[in-house]
């Protein structure tokens, strides 16, 4: 028999909302099934792949391992909350520009993890980017375009007029 629904209030992508759901549901399920925010994906639902990453109060968490109930009063950010109105976030812009999103399935999680990294570390070294993204699996890109997109976005967020290097898009001469 379905459980009686529980209701919580939280902030999702800057909007206060109330949502009712079966109390055993994970945040991943609440986002996808009860709030219709299907931009958050799942790859294992066991906390192994990082694909369901969202930000809770600015920190990357695996939404498949967090109960929805635990998010009462918290601030949740999903990929749907990254763009500012019709303007893409610099990370989204850079991912699109460099082809850092191929199939796009792991992309929301990488974007949010990188978003949290850049909030704390505006000028990350390559090794810091690798470290920050080590919990997210991507099978398409080999991660290289993702690193480059994070670096490009970071530069632009610092106000630099950064452009992708020619070899990034065309290879070595």
């Amino acid at each position: 028999m379905p459980d009686a629904k529980a209701k919580i209030a939280l902030d999702v992508n800057g909007e206060p909302i109330e949502v009712a759901f079966a109390p055993h549901k994970t945040l991943l399920e609440v986002l996808r099934e009860d709030l219709g925010l299907t931009g958050t994906k799942h790859g294992c639902e066991l906390g192994e792949c990082g694909t369901c990453t969202v930000l809770i109060d600015g920190t990357p968490v695996l939404s498949c391992l967090v109960l929805g109930l635990a998010c009462a009063g918290r601030r949740v950010k999903t990929v749907e909350g990254m763009a500012d109105g019709g303007v893409l976030h610099p990370l989204q812009e850079a991912f699109a520009e460099l082809g850092a999103a191929q199939c796009g399935y792991c992309t929301p999680a990488f974007l949010l993890t990188a978003d949290a990294l850049l909030a704390e570390t505006p000028r990350p070294a390559r090794e810091q980017i690798k470290e920050a993204l080590a919990g997210n699996l991507c099978r398409c890109t080999g991660y290289l375009k993702i690193y480059e997109a994070v670096e490009l976005a970071a530069a632009r967020m610092r106000g630099e007029n950064a452009k992708p290097a020619r070899e990034t898009l065309y290879g070595q001469p």
Binding site: G39, Q102, C103, T141, G142, Y147, L169, Y170, G171, P173
Partner: protein
Amino acid sequence: MGSRKKKKTTERRKDGTGMQRQGRSECRVVGTALRKVDATAKVTGATRFADDLSLPRMLYAKLLRSPHPHARIIVIDASKARALPGVKAVLTGTDLPIPFGILPVSQDEHALALDKVRFVGDPVAAVAATSEEIATAALDLIDVQYEPLRAFPDAIDAVEHPDPSIHDYADAGNIHKLIDLEFGDVDAGFREADLVREDLFFFEGNTHLPMEQHAAAADWSPGGRLTVWSSTQTPHYVHRALAKVLELPAARIRVIACPNGGGFGGKSDPFSHEIVVAKLAVLTGRPIKITLTREEVFYCHRGRHPTLMWVKTGVKKDGAITGMHFKSLLDGGGYGSYGVASTYYTGALQTVTYPIPRYKFQGARAFTNKPPCGPKRGHGTPQPRFALEVHLDKVAEQLGMDPAELRLRHLVPPNSLTANWLRVGTMGLGRCIEKVVAGSEWKRRFKKLPHGQGIGLACSSYITGAGLPIYWNAMPHSGVQLKCDRGGGVTVFCGSTEIGQGSDSILAMIVAEVLGIDPGHIAVVTGDTDLTPVDLGSYSSRVTLMTGNAAIQAAERARDLIAPHAARKLEVPAERIVFADGRVFDVEQPEHGLGFAEAVQLAEAAEGTVGTVGSYTPPRSAGRYRGSGVGPSPAYSYSACVALVDVDPATGIVRVPKIWIAHDVGRVINAASVMGQIEGSVYMGLGEALMEEMAYRGNRNVVHKIPSLLEYKSPTTLEMCDVVTYVVEDPDPNGPFGAKECGQGPLLPVPPAVANAVYDAVGVRIDEVPITPEKVFKALRRKDKGEEPRFGPTRFPEIPWPEPTRVPPPWEGGDGTAVEQSVGRTVARHA
């Protein structure tokens, strides 16, 4: 790129469809790094993958899977499950008794096991319920009685024990397929050789591991139309399988391929879950969805066949090959899948890199009680390429030659036929080798790095689309329709499937190039059997070449349709009309012209709705022998790779800090996509080289050891190496604007390059992948004890090979047919 050739490519092209009329320098769109047409949707989370679909009144399906690797089903009692509140339907094998399978020669799967299960995870029953929780609970209420049978954990066991047979069809016992092809007298080749060398290799099976779990949804309208959405790479083949198994007219079935969250070949078969949701939608009259768990994705598998290989090669002192004999034994798992083609592929492409004047290939595929193997990126060719490239490294050492030099001296010439009658067109391997040798400072490093550090080189080639369709037919492999709107927009309809490789963008770029309009003014509709003409699917690296050529034909026809009306308005001869920069104008006075939209309007006013079609069929292959259908391709891509490794002699741990890769792509269409495909291939090759394996507990019920993303090791950011990529362009006349594939080929040289580098680093040969620390450690121990410094297989089993099909190579005369048909075969064949 500084090395870009300046000459125009126009004169290289033969007449016919799909040929560009403009040289490289005139291209405005092709060759640039364009943002992909679906990029914004993908970075905003707006892309709707199959599991993102939700329909009103939707039910959820779950599959009950076998806990036995090999067993007869005695009885299934689903009465308790049917009685559970919320359960709407339960299916078992007898509800879907018609077999299916991707290849016409192996229609050996049932949506739900009919009388036998053949691997742990084989689907047995299905439930439709109002929630996933109820469906899952209902599975526990289905009582299945099994009679366990002897299970076969690996190919050698299956070859050596014909009983009990896993299937009631096979070439011999539990050997699904036997192949014996002979192109010239290899023994004569060995007699001419200065050195003859034999080696054994093993390539462990691995899986695609797409981040998206397979999902499918179905909806049945009371009017009698079925719609199925699926994360499939091959909607056309799913369409055919659904029509067959459900006994519905194909005209009443619509298959929509959702964008795939990664495919890599793993979503290329028609699957049980797709047929089951379709049947359940028909039965319940409600929409229904199934999403596989990650564990179930491991059971779907269809990944790399574990392959045991033996190779014997004769060479002259200068490294010229005089003859090669190659044997492979593939562990197929429980069903046919693409396996017959995979088996042929383990012997097909050895000949397209270095000239092999006489060649013999024997291949066998065994049925075993594991999830079925099938096509994974490189389909059947990474295994023999690993064997061949490590083998050649050993040959070079014995001859005292630099392995790069050995390869450079002996390259298959462009525009030539191989011993097995493959027609090689452009061939850029030499330039690829030169690029990685220079970039990696090969000559300064090879054999000169300190102990523990090493460098290795390997090369490869891959098809740009299979020359023949999966089921025999004379129709095009790819079709495109164009609709030109009077507002100036153009919609491209094509059955191709976007799996992240960028196929939607290729269509937009090519049509934009030919019609001279902004790619942003083009809408792309793909992968929908109701709306789009057939494209066979996203497999065999065929999509850019085949849909690209079809798109060129459709766009050129649109240009030809519009041009006369623009010419009349401009009062110039039609042959002077040019389409570029969103305008249609006189080439001799470019300011004299119209906007593209206005030109379309003139055409529409005169001719009615402006739409065209284009299609593509590959050129006929040269071989005419049985088995010649696997290997031919309109064009072959080439890659060369150098890997730098650090090996810790104390632990055997191998780290790969850097890889140099050069890939002959013919011609770049979208530069950013080409880079992404090459880098992604290197990544996947690195995973296969170092860690990825489908491992089973052979003595414990043949259960998959590690059906999870945590335990199935794949490279994270911490294992991924730096990659230096060189894109080599040598436009191929068969490719759209000269393009060849780039999504699979660059994977192939990575595992052998790493293996060769490990040898350079610590002097031990690891003749199997993955190259795990324990294998390196064991080989180092053997070296210390004065034994053979090697880890790898030690025997190839006896196989009841059939009489060979003897086909003289082109230089020995003949026309590509076998001189004597297979006679005296002792084993029965069944279709």
